[in-house]
Symmetry: C2
Subunit: 91 residues, 2 copies
Amino acid sequence: MALIERDDIISRLEGMEGWELRDESLEKTFTFDGYLAGIEFVNRLAAAAEEQAHHPDLEVGYGRVVVRVSTHSEGGITERDFRLAAAADAV
Amino acid sequence: MALIERDDIISRLEGMEGWELRDESLEKTFTFDGYLAGIEFVNRLAAAAEEQAHHPDLEVGYGRVVVRVSTHSEGGITERDFRLAAAADAV
């Protein structure tokens, strides 16, 4: 799948609240009330990721989950990443 | 709860396979066959953590979960961290 150009990524992120481009990944921090609420989010996101056969890197803390999506095999951001980011917002 | 001295931490970690002291946390990387197996581990660990009212920071990737335990409120490692580390090995 084709890499998306940096300018296009930046432009598309303007319409996606909380997402930013960092270290060649789309990144967003989700906050929750307590640890288990974050884990619940992780489960729903993992199910969506499995359906898409595309998986985010996660950083889980107390009441906080950082989601990072990137297409490692292509070395950058592709449509698959924007699709997974949208799924994270939806769960 | 009292902080454990660095020398004591290092000495106790010798008996705990895969754990090391890094950035004031006890850290271990667990590997799995696939993304969902890692998520399954996260769920069991989260349940154990909730029981202990002490929660690890996690870094979740494909087939890999890095577990970091530390007593933030004390600024170092306490018995609670060793107990949580043991729980992570047990799940």
